[in-house]
Amino acid sequence: MNTGGGAMAIARKEGYRTGLVDMAAGQISREIFVNEEIYQQELERLFARVWLFVGHESQIPNPGDYFVSGMGEESVILCRDRAGKVHVFLNSCRHRGMKVCRYDEGSTPVFTCPYHGWSYGTDGKLAGVPYFKEAYHSQLDKSRWGLIEVPQLCLYKSTVWASWDPPAPPFLEYLGDFTRYLDLTLDSWDGREGGTEILSGIQKWRIPCNWKFPAENFCGDSYHNISHRSVDLVGIGPSGSGRRDMQERLMARRLHVAFYERGHQTGVYLMPKDRPMPPSYQHSSVVSEYFAHCEEARRRSRGEWARVIGSPGEIFPNTALHPRQPRTIAVWHPRGPHQTEVWRWYMVDKAAPPEVKDFLRDYIRYSGPAGMTEQDDMENWNYAHAASRGTIARRYPYSYEQGLGFEVENYEWQGLRMPGTVMDITEAKSSEHNLRNLYRRWAEFMEAESWDELATWRIAQAAE
């Protein structure tokens, strides 16, 4: 294990896979969480190349609507132009870099820089330049100085994703078969394609830890559940006991699913064949009946795949999925090696009755900085990060050995084969299979010079 070669590894742009991240041994150096130079490399080699979650179309329903989001450390504007087209722009004036939008969201015909007054249309074109005739003698080529737009944008089931890297594979290719697991968050409860909307506002808060602490936690770290014991005891679940309505976990196979070539991973519950879902949300008959109706409809429309129940997961590298209620998407924005800014979106079926939306809005209090479990998590990440920064602490790697070597390809149970490489933790209770997958892919990105090295699935496809 290379415990002290962080700086050398960065200079060579190698040594991530063979030293700092040692998957054969299941060990990872603390340097990747606390080293300033590694963090700077991450911004360039990771966040400037991957696909990132930007927002939801329901946040910008009308022409002129905008929502200020983030990609890596940088502020971006998600907006709908006058013609209805969705754009994502860097929130920085082309003249001197000032933010052209300093509100969180709203509607506007133009984005005007308050510094010198350059003004841009919602299509990003430079529209207004003070003293254009007098000072520029009408010679400034406005067409060259529009807002910087992401080269790749994808609208998928109302969610908006973007990448700064022109050669990156299209979003759905980036996902691969993991799309089916993402759909567990984005499809309606009754099995219809898409149909979600954002419920209430976006929660935003900062945690003094590296962004990879929450990222690995939401990959499927079921080992830390002891941290939430106090919440279990309180019994805030929507049927009046436990944390959530999770009676299915008593009868389902519990799986960790990872996609080695993509870096995405999730937990899932795989229900037995022909067994009905247990009732849920029994504090409210309207909500309980709604979910019972949806489960029946989903079984009819999705067949065997309806046996798959979502659990926390992650789109590589920093978009967390929480398909069950509270149904959320979270982004772990890097804010330096020692700080993370969390943004959490809450989603609900657009077609759900108002009573159901109101009930689920109340249940949001489960998550977020003022919630229950997230407070436990933040305390863990905060202190773990701080205790890993010291000169002595950095010499000792973390252990990721749990379940190493027990992964299964082509996993199948009662007639349903699961996409991805699977660790069945029903009896094992926990594994670090998904966490290893996150760091395996992270190390590949940190070393790879191009997508020729990263899009390895294309090699296999070309050979077929």
């Binding site: 506007t108 015909p109 133009v110 005007t112 308050p114 007054g117 529209a127 207004g128 003070p130």
Partner: protein, 68 residues
């Protein structure tokens, strides 16, 4: 020197005088405190601008001729 004009208060229909002597009518106001959209009613320096719509910079507006 004229007093600065708060362009955020200029409603559609307001007639404004620009520093080159042109007169324009506000069409819409983005309320950014920097620009208004206006249509030229007269333009002694460049008569071809009359009838056209442009973004007018706040510091080019020297007088409010009449309000909407």
């Amino acid at each position: 020197m004229t007093e600065p004009i708060n362009v955020r208060l200029l409603a559609a229909g307001t007639r404004i005088v620009l520093d080159d002597g042109a007169v324009a009518e506000v069409v819409s106001n983005p309320l950014d405190g920097v620009w208004v959209f206006a249509r030229y009613l007269s333009s002694p320096d460049d008569p071809t601008r009359v009838g056209s719509e442009e973004m007018i910079f706040a510091q080019d507006i020297v007088e409010i001729r009449d309000t909407a």
